[in-house]
Symmetry: C2
Subunit: 189 residues, 2 copies
């Protein structure tokens, strides 16, 4: 694990505060105080509060895009693809629990990058739906509403950031398996 630069330290501290109170309720004074400096000093490392939010959200959103592309392209069953999606969420969330809170709850406060974020999210959900639809048409997945299935899975996966920190004892891989089991057995034929 490489040493964090001051800028990275600011961003990861911001993510932690954003998780607790939301982007809008966290002030630059709050953030500076958490780092033991004055608010004005932050601006030697970052351009604006908005820039911090952008860094947090876009970095994660692009990881999901990459991961989904790789899963979508892979030559495995659609059920296996769903299991890979669960593992992708568990892995990304475990590596950036605080950032996931911003991605889920503060994306609407993005300014310049809002459209870009929405495009990434939309593409992600469409690929997710395609996998479910193909799974149903190949009888790997039980005949039912694909959107209800995605909604149910994605709701659980998006809430992982609230749950993973409480379960540091539980192994990450075990969690992914246990979740896959709960989510998929009920879809499976």
């Amino acid at each position: 694990m490489r040493q964090e630069t001051r800028k990275e330290e600011i961003i990861s501290t911001a993510a932690k505060l954003f998780k607790e109170k939301g982007y809008s309720a966290v002030t630059m004074r709050d953030l500076a105080s958490a780092l033991g400096i004055k608010a004005a000093s932050l601006y030697n490392h970052i351009n604006s509060k908005q820039d911090i939010l952008k860094s947090i959200i876009i970095a994660i959103a692009e990881k999901f895009t990459e991961g989904m592309q790789s899963i979508s392209d892979s030559d495995i069953s659609n059920i296996s693809k769903l299991e890979s999606i669960v593992a992708l969420h568990v892995q990304i969330t475990a590596n950036n629990t605080n950032g996931m809170a911003s991605l889920n709850n503060d994306w609407m406060h993005l300014e310049d990058q809002l459209e870009y974020y929405l495009k990434l999210r939309n593409d992600y959900e469409n690929k997710f739906l395609d996998i479910i639809r193909e799974g149903i048409s190949k009888s790997e997945i039980r005949q039912s509403n694909p959107e209800v299935i995605m909604f149910s899975m994605l709701s659980t996966l998006r809430s992982l950031y609230l749950w993973i920190p409480k379960k540091e004892d539980l192994n990450i891989n075990e969690l992914a398996l246990s979740l896959s089991d709960t989510l998929i057995n009920g879809i499976n034929t």
Copy 2:
């Protein structure tokens, strides 16, 4: 459907704005403007911004408490209790989609009522867990981690507010059944 008083109109408009941007990012001027009046005029009907948030959240939290009590006391199987919980969430969410956003995302901005809210939520989750545990011990529910099951179900149910408005065509009862099916078949023996 009775006519809304001015106060109720303010609260329901606030809930709509809180859903879009979160409590902290909505100003009293935003709220007044959405109602076609000036910010100062709001204070003839409500005491403070905080009071609006309290009204929105506590009213819904108490409905959940009531509903869970009734389900918990009823003399039905534990699987039926879980189905009733799904129906409870679908019904409350359908009746107050905007308020559910505040309950989920802005509860930490409660001031005087924060402890009370947390107690209600904690009691709710404990009753939920008890039902799952009893279901497992009576072999109605598949042997697995009760917290993973509750987490998965509750994540989906808490996200309903994002999804119900998009699906006005879909009948509410059908949705409850379809969700129950997706969530429970995979838990069932």
